[in-house]
């Protein structure tokens, strides 16, 4: 049952992501992305990463996407006009990047499939609880946690400085 659910959520996730990328209207894209993130949260729950699943809903689908929606509405972004060429004439070097990525990924899937047929670790049940993640966060990951706080301070300063008309 959960296995079927997992594939269902994956399919919905990929569909929603395609909808975001291919849609001309930014507002539809934002809503599509919220839907995609909700599916991803469900997949995290199925993978027993409960804390991350909750964060996905709160931080991503909640805070970040609301920010996107707010800016799209504030700026009154219009749907893209149809344009003749699909690719920007001067984005060829991105094509190189995509090619590198896809070939690396094919290499990975091609060579690694048998090695990756492992099943989940048995003793991992309940590993993703708030207590477990929190303990790791405040013991072995204490320094990264503090650096992350600096990162958020920087973002706060920058946002206020850049977006305010007159400081």
């Amino acid at each position: 049952m959960t296995t079927i659910l997992f594939y269902l959520f994956s399919a919905l996730l990929l569909g929603a992501a395609l909808f975001v990328v291919l849609n001309r209207n930014p507002i539809y894209s934002v809503v599509g992305l919220v839907f995609a993130f909700m599916n991803l949260a469900a997949m995290y729950f199925l993978l027993e990463a409960y804390f991350i699943g909750v964060l996905q809903v709160l931080v991503y689908a909640g805070a970040i996407m609301v920010l996107f929606l707010f800016v799209v509405m504030l700026l009154n972004v219009q749907p893209d006009r149809p344009h003749p060429g699909l690719i920007h004439p001067d984005r060829w070097w991105f094509g190189i990047m995509a090619l590198i990525f896809v070939s690396l990924f094919l290499l990975l899937i091609g060579q690694g499939v048998r090695a990756l047929l492992t099943s989940p670790a048995e003793d991992a049940a309940g590993m993703g609880s708030v207590a477990d993640v929190g303990e790791a966060l405040f013991t072995s990951f204490l320094l990264p946690f503090e650096i992350a706080s600096l990162l958020l301070t920087v973002a706060l300063i920058g946002t206020v400085f850049l977006a305010k008309k007159k400081v």
């Binding site: 296995t3 997992f6 994956s10 996730l13 990929l14 992501a17 395609l18 975001v20 990328v21 930014p26 894209s29 934002v30 992305l33 995609a36 997949m43 995290y44 993978l47 990463a49 804390f51 991350i52 964060l55 931080v59 991503y60 805070a63 970040i64 920010l67 800016v71 799209v72 700026l75 009154n76 972004v77 219009q78 893209d80 006009r81 920007h88 001067d90 984005r91 991105f94 094509g95 990525f101 990924f105 990975l108 899937i109 990756l116 099943s119 989940p120 670790a121 003793d123 590993m127 993703g128 993640v133 790791a136 990951f141 990264p144 992350a148 990162l151 973002a155 920058g158 850049l162 977006a163």
Partner: protein, 101 residues
């Protein structure tokens, strides 16, 4: 649940590729930004899957940091878009010459 790891990895890879395609092909800065978010979420999915299959919580802690980064990046990026919008006085973000030589 008996989903093989490489299926989840394939989903993550596909999701990442969708994000890359979005960054490549879209002209609208906000949608390019959302495509970057899709890429980061593909990374998160891979991390959570690996964390589950290794029975090791470190991957989930890494996801926490990626979310912190995403929040910081989005806040700064949208602030830049707002200030650019104010100076250009146009609602058409696709006018921004992102890739001028």
């Amino acid at each position: 649940m008996v989903v093989p790891l490489y299926h989840i990895l394939a989903f993550a890879g596909l999701l990442f590729t969708i994000g890359v395609v979005g960054v490549l092909f879209r002209r609208n800065a906000i949608i390019v930004f959302m495509s970057v978010e899709i890429m980061l979420n593909a990374v998160n999915l891979a991390f959570v899957a690996f964390s589950r299959y290794h029975g090791n919580v470190n991957g989930q802690v890494f996801v926490f940091f990626i979310m912190t980064l995403a929040a910081a990046e989005v806040a700064v990026g949208l602030a830049i878009i707002v200030s650019l919008f104010r100076n250009l006085r146009t609602s058409d973000i696709s006018e921004i010459r992102l890739m001028k030589h």
